[in-house]
């Protein structure tokens, strides 16, 4: 015998110490990282404390320029409707991105004109692009190749 159950958790999330990053994304189309005053490492995503030195970091602005260190072409969409819009059509690119001023890298999407395996690849130079409608999430921005490909 089978019966329907549903569980739904809703959250009103505090970004806490990372609020500045999302406020700058939302209002100023500006990416920020955080730098350790001791070891000089620049963290992206930013964190309030340097996990290596155990000291408070300081906010530093990024130029928005970076490089793809690795990527894969995904031939399926996320099941979560709210995020499907960010990915666009398949195949879409999930890339490991290193911003020029950062020491750590992060995962994000790169949108090129041609949706074809190999167009975006390791070493591709990219820069940030902004969604018109932003809501304070990491999916408010994405990356596009510097070259029109």
């Amino acid at each position: 015998m089978e019966v329907r159950y549903e569980y739904r958790g809703e959250y009103l999330v505090s970004y806490g110490e990372t609020s500045k990053f999302f406020r700058e994304v939302l209002l100023n189309k500006q990416l920020y990282g955080s730098q350790c005053p001791s070891c000089r490492k620049v963290w992206m995503p930013p964190r309030e404390h340097c996990s290596d030195c155990y000291v408070e970091t300081q906010w530093v602005p990024f130029s928005g320029q970076g490089t793809v260190l690795s990527c894969t072409y995904c031939f399926y969409a996320s099941i979560n409707e709210e995020e499907m819009e960010a990915f666009g059509d398949i195949p879409f690119v999930l890339a490991v991105i290193k911003l020029d001023e950062a020491d750590t890298c992060f995962l994000h999407n790169v949108v090129a004109r041609q949706r074809r395996v190999g167009v975006i690849k390791t070493g591709t130079r990219i820069h940030v692009a902004w969604k018109e409608k932003r809501e304070g999430k990491v999916s408010d921005f994405y990356f596009v190749p510097d070259e029109d490909i």
Binding site: S70, I79, V138
Partner: protein, 399 residues
């Protein structure tokens, strides 16, 4: 420090869905098998370690306390561990620690997971229901809005950078690993998926996250597995020759911190392997082990894990499949039970079941799956879909 031995094994077949069983019954059957195998009763158990990977997927917070009652363990020590796909490795670490420290002389390690009750009422698909619930697992603020799921994560952060750096594995080598495991599963009565695939079939199957194809991806399903672990004193009076846990190590290395030098690596497994080899006195794992079970969450990962486990130098994992070293009749069979792509991938359960497989191999009770024994040692290694957790356990039969 005291020694710990595996005294009994319980394994249920991996299935896409057990519609006729709740997780209580799955757990009970695996535990009963393990206790019967050890010639012990529930009264002999002093402590239970619950390797239960995900509460949201099971639709139950704290399932361990309800299982504790159902399994007749009221009042005894209960400890739940969860570490994504390395949950079983973390579980045996906890169980062995209790025995080695003298805190318990008989510990039950139980892994159970049921995911097939998940359902997406919009699409009418259980698989979509699972994917929706599993979207809780990427880091929620920075990754979830932009990372579709774990196959893409593992391919993008681990496999592709490795291919960039070393020119290997090639797509053909990856496909051959998938074929090896699918072929091995044909002999395994417990396996969930039995497909007689060729390299061409694998390469021509749907691309999921380039270059990973459909048949190179792990399955998902329901299952349960249990081990009974005992102290050296207790091990001497049991029906089967004891298989000792000679090494168990964990190294968790979150790859949410993506440092460029860590791309293409599974650093937790490398560190855990070094520590476990040190405990077991293993210097040359390729030539001192008889069997390895590891988590091929995607087939490309298996080749990278060879390197992290020290079976070959970095960048040379592909050679082990090219030369047939890891085939069923090779120098060191890897995943002779079919691996996650064919035998089954129920996080937590598949590792504990793999540990049971290695124990049965070392006791020469593996039936059609039996591999030749030369050294009496086997290994189980696990990580997770973000390559962050690392767990390595080494087993050795009574010499």
């Amino acid at each position: 420090m005291g020694k710990a031995a595996v005294a009994g094994v319980g394994q249920l077949p991996f299935k896409a869905r057990y519609a006729d069983k709740t997780y209580f019954s799955l757990a009970f059957e695996a535990v009963k098998q393990a206790l019967d195998d050890a010639g012990l009763s529930p009264k002999d158990v002093g402590s239970v370690v619950y390797a239960i990977y995900s509460e949201p997927l099971l639709r139950q917070g704290f399932p361990d306390i309800f299982l504790h009652d159902y399994l007749g363990m009221q009042g005894k020590t209960g400890l739940k561990v969860a570490a994504a796909e390395a949950t079983g490795g973390h579980g045996i670490y906890a169980a062995v620690s209790q025995i080695a420290s003298g805190m318990a002389d008989c510990v039950l390690l139980l892994a159970v997971q049921k995911v097939s009750d998940l359902y997406d009422f919009h699409t009418g698909s259980r698989g979509d229901g699972l994917l929706k619930a599993a979207s809780l697992f990427p880091e929620y603020t920075w990754e979830r809005p932009v990372v579709p799921n774990n196959i893409a994560h593992l391919t993008g952060t681990c496999l592709v950078p490795h291919m960039d750096k070393y020119g290997s594995p090639t797509v053909e080598q990856i496909a051959r690993i998938a074929v090896k495991n699918h072929q091995n599963a044909l002999l395994n009565p417990q396996a969930q998926l039995k497909l007689n695939l060729t390299v061409e079939d694998v390469l021509n199957s749907r691309i999921i996250a380039w270059p990973t194809t459909l048949y190179e991806c792990c399955l998902y399903g329901d299952g349960a597995a249990a081990l009974v672990l005992v102290s050296e004193e207790k091990a001497r009076s049991l029906p089967h020759p004891p298989v000792w846990v000679t090494g168990t190590a964990l190294a968790d290395h979150s790859l949410h911190r993506l440092e460029p030098r860590m791309l293409g690596r599974v650093p937790g497994v490398a560190k855990a392997a070094r520590d476990a080899y040190g405990q077991a006195g293993i210097k040359d794992p390729l030539r001192e082990l008889d069997v390895v079970e590891l988590q091929d969450l995607i087939s490309g990962l298996e080749l990278i894990m060879y390197e992290e486990l020290g079976l070959c130098p970095a960048g040379e994992g592909g050679r082990l499949i090219d030369e047939g070293v890891v085939l069923r009749d090779g120098l060191l069979p890897v995943n002779p039970h079919g691996g996650c792509v064919a035998c089954g991938h129920v996080p937590g359960v598949c590792e504990v079941s793999s540990m049971g497989d290695v124990v049965l191999q070392l006791q020469e009770r593996a039936g059609a799956l039996q591999v030749p024994l030369h050294h009496g040692q086997g290994l189980v290694a696990s990580t997770c879909s973000a390559a962050s957790f690392g767990a390595v356990t080494i087993f050795k039969r009574e010499s």
